[in-house]
């Protein structure tokens, strides 16, 4: 599955207080997930506005995930 979708880009905006730290922990535990996901650290999920999400889609990312 990973191979066929290798060209995809999914941006995950992650709050540095929780979701970003959780992703770090997932790494520490060597949990595997698809490499198409690129995590972008934000100071708080409250910082994320619609324009940022839409802008990302406009720029051509295939999916946006917000975690916080």
């Amino acid at each position: 599955m990973m191979d066929t979708n290798a060209h995809l880009h999914i941006v995950a905006f992650a709050c540095e207080h929780c979701a970003y730290a959780a992703a770090d922990l997932a790494g520490g535990l060597r949990m595997q997930y698809p490499p198409q996901i690129k995590i972008v650290q934000i100071p708080c999920s409250g910082k994320l506005d619609e324009l940022m999400v839409l802008g990302a889609l406009e720029d051509g990312v295939d999916g946006v995930m917000v975690a916080g």
């Binding site: 992703a23 972008v40 650290q41 990312v61």
Partner: protein, 1510 residues
Amino acid sequence: MSAVDRKNPTNGNNAPQPPVGAVMVVGGGIAGMQAALDLGDQGYKVYLVEKESAIGGHMALLDKTFPTNDCAMCNISPKLVDTGRHLNIEILTQTDVRQVDGDVGNFTVTVNCRPRYIDTDKCVGCDNCAQVCPISLPDLYEQGLKDRKAAYRLYTQAVPAAYAIEKLGVAPCRDACPAGQRAQGYIALIAEGRYREALRVIKEDNPFPSVCGRTCHHPCEGHCTRALVDQPVGIMSLKRFVVDYALAYGREKVEQVPRTRPEWVAVIGSGPAGLTAAHDLVKMGYGVTVYEALQVAGGMMRVGIPAHRLPKGVLQQDIDDILALGVVLKTDSPVKDPGALLEQGYDAVCLATGISTKDHSLGLEGEGALGVISAATFLRKINLGEPLAIGNRVAVLGGGITALDAAAVARRLGAQDVHLVLDRPRGELPAYHWEVASVEAEGIHLYEKIAATEILERDGKVTGVVLAETGKGMAKDASGRRKPKIKDGTEFSIEVDTVIGTVGQYSDLNYLDPRFDELSVDRKTLACDIPGLFVVGGRKTGASYIIEAVALGHRVADSIHSYLQDGIAVAAEKSAPPVVKYTRQEMQDRVLKGEIQLAPKIEPILLPMDERVTSFREVVLGMTDQQARREASRCLQCGICAECLACVYACDVNAIDHEMVAYEEKIQVGAVILAPGYQAYNAHLSEEYGFGRYPNVVTALQFERLLAASGPTQGHVQRPSDGATPQRIAFLQCVGSRDQDHDYCSAVCCMYATKEAIIAMEHHPELDIHVFLMDMRAYSKGYLGYYRRAREHYGIQYERCRISALHEDTVRHDLILHHVDESGKQQVNRFDMVVLSVGMEISQSVRDLGRRLGVELDEYGFCHSVRFNPIETSRQGIYAVGPFREPKDIPESVVEASGAAAAISARLADSRFTLTTRREYPDEKDISAEPAQIGVFVCHCGSNIAGFLDVPDVAAYARELPGVVHAEDLLYACSQDAIDQITQSVDEHGINRVVVASCSPLTHQPLFQDSIRSAGLNPYLFEMANIRNQCSWVHSFDRDLATTKARDLVRMAVARAANLEPQQTFDVPVESAALVVGGGAAGMTAAINLAEQGFPVYLVEREDELGGNLRHVLTPLPALNGDDPQHPQEVLDTLIERVTHNIHITVHLDSKVIATRGFMGNFTSTIQTASGARSEILHGATILATGGQEYRGPEYGCGTDPRIVTQHEFENLLVNHKLKIKNLKSLVMIQCVGPAEEFCSRICCTVALKNALALKEQIPEAQITILHRDIRSYGFKERLYTRARELGVLFMRYDDRHRPQVNVNNGDLTIEAWDPVLRKGVTFEPQRLVLSMPAVPDPDTNQVSSLFKVPVDADGFFLEAHVKLRPVDFATDGVFMAGMAHYPKLLDETIVQAQAAASRAARILSRDTLTAGGQVAVVDPALCTGCLTCVRVCPFNVPLMQSDLTGVGEIIGAAYIEAAVCQGCGSCVAECPARAIQLMHYTDTQMGSKVRALTKPEAAFIPLEAVHES
């Protein structure tokens, strides 16, 4: 032990010394960390002492916290990082406090620092050591549910992040070995099939593994702990196996060691000592020549040991390896004048000629006859292939291994009758029993405890030998040699034609030039009186066994090295680590517990007999892989760490040092805080619950780990017996609490069981969970609602029953519980899992600590404290916080920690900032005119990143990105040399923005920012790409994809970096005064503390007198824990006196705060008196202590009849109107009145118990019934409950369906209640009814809340910033709370909380300035429409509308965000409809370029100027 003195800050004169501005905090759990952070922030140096290898305590192993179900790690992790990076906090891990001398203000604390074996400054936490460590042991952090390695990190997020090695000491096998061979180490590696590594560690200590694997006298096995269980491990055979394996599968080529030192050393003699010395010296870089008198090297190993025991090729293998290192060997080169070698230019000469070749006398008559030969000569001739004839009948005389060898050789030479005459029983030979048996099996006649008395001869030829039995003891013969005594009359003779005698062989130096006759040799250094000449050998310093010779070789090499380096030979003083010893009993216990399985030793296979006596083929055959691994697995791993050195080889940063030893240190501090925490009750002791026997009975801490996503099952709840998901789970409460052995309540178990049940339900909603409990102790903020949710939303069943025992279905491992339900029916239930809610205890080590420090403890080890100075111990200057005082929850521990910090600060204030440090940086470079010049540093993290993706490729890729002027890869970017390298590169390459692609910014960003600040760059010109935690580790199965993603992440980071701008921070001055609102116990306590710290305090009280609710508390709680409760009114008087006499406190009575503005450090408030007079004050912090009051409502007839009173009123009757109640014979109390049905008011049960006991004291026959929902006498308050029951107070439970009914009819007061035990209604006709009214917030709370813009919760109490970890802080910086306004609480709890609030305020007030700016939101007023959205969304109430600003379209007023208090979350930025706000460091350009770089690299890299222009 070495003692290190910290810099003593006190001077020597007699003037009153200022206190030491340092504090020691003992215990690195959440309370210890909080105390350390508060004190560190307030300007004190803090030593945080932790017994484990990392801080974090119990909270670090929790999955979630109640009542918010927050992730515990998410909460504690920032505290861990803050503590770890705090400049004023020094963390001492694996450290115990031994003693405290001196007095408050000037203590000297002696601590013992146990070795970690890993240098925390060097370790980068890469995990290499753990990956290669062969030792597994139960992971105690995971509660034994999985294993970890001896090289370990306590948990993933541990601080310090450095690993540690668990080592008890030196294993007895190593200790017994003269050469210190790390036997446990190579055995551990063999057990894992890592044979080459095993050989590597053997060779660390012994260059003759092939020889010692065959012929060692193996004292290691004699000391092997396994002998206490069955038989010792076959250590020697295992060593041989490794050598055989290497030989069979190709030896690794030995590389020549480069010469790094100019000196040459000559070694005379190529025996084990000489060659070992040569081996060591060549490895140190010296040139070495070995002179050997014979044609072949090897000394006694070659000429003294027969080939059937040590094949010549095997020996040669070891010698060849030594020579391959670069040792020059000169055979046929006898040296008689070592002095001449020194003159020739050798810098040192080592005489290692060992055993003399001269034959010594047997001391027997007839020994001169033909046919008598010494064993040494005999074996030498055979080994050198020299001609030798022996007869057909041979007697071998002796008692050692040489005699065995000689007999076996004689047999192989064809002798038919070989008599082996041993002067001792065979068991006393330094040989395996099978070696003796083997010789016997070869047809040799064995005589035990027989010695020769005479050799018979005829015509000068041997004809026989006279033998006799030996007796006890030894006697000296004519020549002075010790021989066994002979039993008279036991003589007999045998006929032989050859006698081979063994005599004690020893070395002598008689062959030397006579001028060396009187050499004097130092036993330790082996140096002699001729400079440069060293002697191994001679009677004094000779060796009996090969391994002893090897040890001497090492010693002389070290000695020669020190001579060559320093001109004088000094024996290295090695501090001896402890040797691990076990008793037979300890081992037998482990066998009984099933920890050790009996397994016989695997004996080697021997050559078939017919081949044996006809050839010199090796008798002992090797082991197979399987046999070796099985034998190796018998090792009991005495030292835990095996010292296999695998970690040393694996560590790329040289951080491991197995030679570390414990040391003592003396530290000067002004005060000590004890926060040692609790230990969970050992559930094994409650045998009735089968813990340890039934696999599916677990403790609550184990269950916590099963729930944790980071736990052993990744958060899947599984039965330990079969891994299945359970369907039905039972929680048993009060295991180790509220029982015959524990007369206290552990205060947290009801809630953590509820939490675990809820979380389990969230994982598996179909679960059926039953909690068996006595009372639900949901007594604190938010607890009751949480408990309700557990029942009503999650369907968790709470059964009021204490389970007395359970048993197991042995087939399915289900647990079967019997209990009587509330309807009185016997129930039998089957559960898949049972969780034991274990209580809190104080560990033995903490009790010992308390005793060593002279702190009074109770019988359970809890620390005695003064009731209204609760955190003080019996020793002045030593404070106790957390469960060490009384079982308690996290927020209360945190409150106490801050409270202790405040109490200490009041004592040490004069020495604030005397021992603290600041980091200095160079001036910042102005880069505004420069284009982005980015440096990229890509980290390998050892193999953590480089093992899963192509790091050099990523670095090369980065080099080509726009704006990048330099890119390189680093082995460990966070190691000190790499940090320096980054700093240097910034200078060298003109870098003005830095990207580090490595691990997480959450842990490492501050470190790298520091390094670029040291190079003069603004810290905001930095960006990280997380290519480890979020790339290499999570995509470890596809190197290409991981590399591609790493490139993407680096490109994104570079794009953002190109757009980064320096952010300026600035200092804002701080007003050092505090405003305290509320003059009750809380307000006064906070005011006094701050004033004693030297800060001016404005204390505002609405009434015309101080005291608040405390005025209504007329009796103290009885003594609970050895304390001597002061009367509350005396406490009140003292507080008022201290307030009014303190010059720093200004009291405003009859006054209110009517306005306040400003921000942390800079508030302005207006105080108005009742008369309307106003004054304005400036203050840096605010404490709100506005209190609460007893609820008044119509419930249960309150106010309708004088016989119905509240607890306050009843207390007043008990104290002030004793006559009115002197005939009181029957009384009912009803708990949980009115609002208390919605929230637990915490104190009512305790107050009811207090008053019931007081009445019982006055009128013992009074019949008291307490109608309650649960008796919530948490902690030691349980003792009041016990005492009340003992005195006959009746307790009857009611629930929401059966509330008591109060009727006042025709003068009769009746109460109808439902008795759940009898299952019928009962009617009471008491003389009085006492209603336990809850404490509710003061009616003014709402007003105060809106004035100070602080929130209240659903019940009207102030809402803290975080219920667990910031229990006295408001979300608004600089504003704090204490007392009943926060939640109902007892007086002692109020006092501590007020001190905690003072501590939090002092963190601000103690600083001259606060740093502001950086990552903050900035409003462009020209775009602001004044819509108030930002004001509304800010969680911290920061944005304000300012009328002096001009908004869009020139409207008056625009939003203003004070940089000093903005938290930088950016919520306002996202919500602002006019896009008038930008978050600095996270601008739209910076964020946008990062995302765009992922998909549209060409668009993302538009130069910054272009973006600005557009």
